[in-house]
Amino acid sequence: MKDQELMLTIMFGVIIMLVVIVITIWFFNQGQKKIIAIKLQKKENELAFQKTLLINTVKTQETERDRISSELHDDIASKLNIIHLNIHLLKKKIKDDPEVEKLIDQIESSLKQSTERTRNLSHELMPQLLKKFGIHHALKEMANIINISQVVQLSIKSEHLIQLNDDFKLLHLYRIIQELLNNTLKYAKASIVEIVFELDNEFLVMTYRDNGIGFDPENLTSGLGIGNIKTRSELLKGVYSITSDKTKKGMLFYLKFPNNDQD
């Protein structure tokens, strides 16, 4: 009887120990889950903060670009034009002194270059066509400029863009196309670029395709402006994908974003 009691005591001790260990393991696991959940939440908050910061930076950048572009176009370029006009008048009045005339010619030439550069800079900062006549015209103008070179043939089917009436969205879309074209012209050695806009219910779908040498999408770096494209795609609340294959050649950029989402 004493033997049995001792055996049962030991067994009871073992079982108690087992229960204590199981509870301890459960406690640690629950604790870990809570800690990881808090860490995850913190990480998500940080990411959300960074995203907001990035969006605000891009918005501020665009506003500032617009302001500088307007200043350049409406103020400095106008003043340069007036100076140019005055110099032209001055040139007419001074005809006797060839040295002065030569000097005026030089000033006129420099002034012309400066005016042109100011206009270009203003256009680069904020395309005036986009601002005044909309993306349809801006893209048409972009295609005209590129097609003049006869190195790349750019075709744009942008009829469905009329559905989009948010200025900021149009600007982001324009910048994405600018970035993609920039990459194609710099690296792709392409001869044909095709941009198509299509409607998919409440969404607008943009496909950008070139017939260049292609690349390995896994080796994409932010240096190719991918970061910029990603940020702007997020600002459009869209999803995007880049498909390319070194062996098959060419590149396809796909972007789908809500049509008239007011934020």
Partner: protein
């Protein structure tokens, strides 16, 4: 089929699984794999000696040293990866001195080394709890999940063994039948953990067939 034969079969099978998987294992699992392999070999040898009516008590002394050394290195490897490592050499040497001193002066080689085994169990229990505490704020990875499963099993084995070892001297006064009940109960628990270890290594084996394992 007796528990000893089942134990023998499971130990052999698990050892083969560890051997097949060894190269694909991470450093932490390699240390545990070696311990598991040696421990299984000692167990198989102990069972063989017992079946042939030869004293196997000296093997418990060897097993205690191996268990202590390898599992301390295992917890050290875990700490190196997931936390702040403890001073390895002093812990290993102190443990070795105590175990050897006990085997030479207190419970000689032909006796069951319950004192040093109890101490080793206690130390490894503390290391197991420490591991859970240290890894509480570590992101869960595939390797950590496996290591946690192993440590959970070790906790169960050491926890229950500690109680049995604490009462081991008192147990000598009760009848052999009752003694066997307790040792069998402990044996079943160890067998269950071996099956879990075996299944874990088998799972790793199946996974490594389809892809290179990056633990």
């Amino acid at each position: 089929m007796s528990l000893a034969i089942i134990m023998l079969f499971v130990s052999a099978l698990c050892s083969v699984l560890v051997l097949i998987q060894y190269r694909a294992l991470s450093d932490i699992l390699k240390v545990f794999g070696i311990y598991f392999l040696i421990s299984n070999c000692i167990e198989i040898l102990a069972l063989y000696l017992a079946e042939n009516k030869i004293s196997n008590l000296f093997l418990f002394h060897i097993n205690t040293v191996i268990e202590f050394w390898f599992l301390v290195i295992f917890f050290y490897a875990c700490d190196r990866k997931y936390g702040k490592p403890f001073p390895l050499i002093p812990v290993l040497l102190q443990g070795l001195i105590i175990i050897v001193a006990n085997s030479i002066f207190v419970q000689k080689i032909d006796m069951f080394n319950s004192y040093s085994a109890t101490l080793v169990n206690l130390v490894l229990l503390i290391f197991s709890f420490r591991f859970f505490f240290v890894t509480m704020d570590v992101d869960v990875t595939k390797e950590l999940k496996i290591v946690k499963l192993i440590v959970s099993c070790l906790l169960l084995v050491f926890g229950t063994s500690l109680i049995v070892l604490l009462f081991s001297n008192a147990m000598l006064s009760i009848s052999t039948t009752y003694q066997l009940y307790i040792w069998d109960f402990r044996g079943i628990l160890i067998l269950s953990t071996k099956v879990i270890f075996g299944l874990t290594f088998a799972k790793l084996l199946f996974e490594s067939r389809s892809k290179t394992l990056q633990l």
